[in-house]
Every structure is written in C-alpha cells, then in structure tokens.
Amino acid sequence: MTDRELHRTDTGDDWLDGLLRADGREHRAAYADDNGFTARLMAALPAPAALPAWRKPALAALWASAGIGIAVALPGAVFDVAHGMLRAILGQPVSFTGIAAAVAALGAATWAAAAIALRDD
C-alpha cells in the first residue's frame, strides 16, 4: 500500500475518506481561469536591473588606460611579444614592416570586436 493510500485509511473511517477523496477530486478538476492574473503579476514584478548609462564608456576608458599604461611601462615588450609570435607562427624571420602590418590588423580586429561588444542592445 502506498503512502498516498495509507493517509486515507489510517483512521479506518472509510466514509470520511470517501467524502474527502470526492472533495479532493473536485478540487483537482477545478480550473481557475487566468482572468488577467498573469498579466497583473508580470506588471508587479520588480523592474529589471538596468546597468548605469556611464558603465560602458567608463569600462572602455579603463581598459584603454590600462593598455596605454602597459605600453608606456614596457615599451619593448609589445614589439618583442609580437615578433616572437609571428616568428613562431610563420616559422621564418619577419621584418619590422610585417610586424607593423600584423599589429595594425590585430588592432583593427580588436577595435571591431570592441565596437560590437559595446554596441547598444
């Protein structure tokens, strides 16, 4: 005997269980029409948390200043890293012009990605 069956028969009052079962069946069969309940509830929900308007420009400025800071602090590092990466990728010595072109392409791609990421939804 399942627990659901047990809780209906443990007093031995079958007639009372019958009445409660009938009442329960009617309750489960009843459907409360929405009648605008869902719409009223959705209107009562708290407003979505909006990010402050200055957040995106502030974030962009922060990243830009961080980038400039690193470039100023380590003037040779950017060139050395780019040089090393290109040599590893191409497997041959590269010229300064080639590195400059690659850095320019990388910068353009970064700017494009940043523009997409920071666009208004």
Binding site: L19, L20, P48
Partner: protein
C-alpha cells in the same frame, strides 16, 4: 510543425540565467490555477485574499527562483511558498476581530457552492454535502486544514506534504489524524447508518 513545449526546468533555467520574463510568465500561466485553487481552499473560499496570496507567492518565487534546487517538483515548491504565505497571513489575522473573517467564509462558501461528486445523483444532496464540508474544514486549525488540503486536495504523499508544510512527516500525520477526528464529529450526519 509546432515547437515542443518547454519543461518547467527549462523555463526556470531561462528565467534565472537570462532573466527571461516571458519564460517566467509561462510558468505562472501553467501553475496559477493550482496555486489559486489551493489558496481558495485554505482561505475557505475567500477569492480576493487567495489571489493576493497567490500574487505574493509568485513574486516570492520569482525573487528566489535561483535558490530552487529541483529536488522537488516546481509545483510542490510553489505549494510550500503559498502555504507559508497563508499561514503567515492567518497569524496576522488572528489578532483581528472575527466578524469580517466569518463574513468572508460565508461569502466564499456561497461562491464555491458547486456540485460535489458525492457518489449520489442528487444535486441537492451534493450541494448540501459541499456546504457541510466547507463548514467542517472551517473549524480546523490552519495547520490541520493545510495538511488536509495538501494530502487530499493536492494529492501529495506525507513526505511531500511535510516538505510543503516545512515540518516532520510525523507532524503531518498528527495534523491529519486530529483533523479527521474533528471532521468526523462535524460530518457525522453523513456517516452510513
């Protein structure tokens, strides 16, 4: 071909991760009837109060959706919030004069006086039984009524009812037993001879 309906778990994930209000409104649409009819039963047919408590229930569910661990069915979780809201409201109202509450109960009884499937073909008998059942349920304590509603009306097991009522299974059984003793005395006229 129409898109298959999303499960409750999928809708909950959308609502939590993407703050998808359309997904949450679908959850409300699915469960509003069960929650509201349960609260109508708990409040003895006071539809206005039941809808207020149902709104409170879904607002609380929305705020705490991220903490729902899917260990129980979503409906069971909602019943738990709804029952807590009902019991908290009942505690507040206990200090108020009884006159208004009696009027609410009487109004609700009249509004809910739909035919009850009592096994007999006589609609007058069914209506009379429904009235007596409502009156009998009204004499139960809130906790006893909540136990009866969860086990008989929402067809939950003792374990599920214990989760909803936030109490041990033994307490649920005690509430049911006490409630039945009171109902037996109140509904004695319906006992077979």
């Amino acid at each position: 071909m129409s898109e298959p309906a999303l499960t409750d778990a999928q809708l909950i994930a959308r609502a939590v991760i993407h703050d998808d209000r359309h997904a949450f409104s679908e959850l409300v649409r699915r469960h509003q009837s069960a929650v509201r009819t349960t609260l109508r039963r708990l409040t003895m047919g006071n539809h206005a109060l039941a809808d207020d408590l149902a709104q409170e229930t879904f607002l609380l569910a929305y705020r705490n959706l991220g903490s729902f661990r899917q260990e129980a069915r979503f409906s069971t979780w909602l019943y738990r919030i709804a029952t807590n809201a009902f019991l908290a409201d009942a505690r507040k109202r206990r200090e108020e004069p009884l006159g208004d509450r009696d009027a609410d109960v009487a109004d609700g009884t009249a509004a809910d006086a739909e035919p009850l499937d009592s096994g007999g073909p006589d609609p007058a008998r069914a209506a009379s039984l429904r009235l007596d059942m409502d009156r009998a349920l009204a004499v139960l304590s809130e906790a006893e009524r909540a136990a009866i509603v969860q086990c008989y009306h929402n067809d939950l097991s003792h374990e599920e009812a214990a989760q909803v009522l936030n109490c041990p299974v033994g307490t649920v059984k005690t509430h049911i037993l006490r409630a039945k003793l009171k109902l037996k005395a109140r509904l004695a006229a319906w006992a077979p001879l």
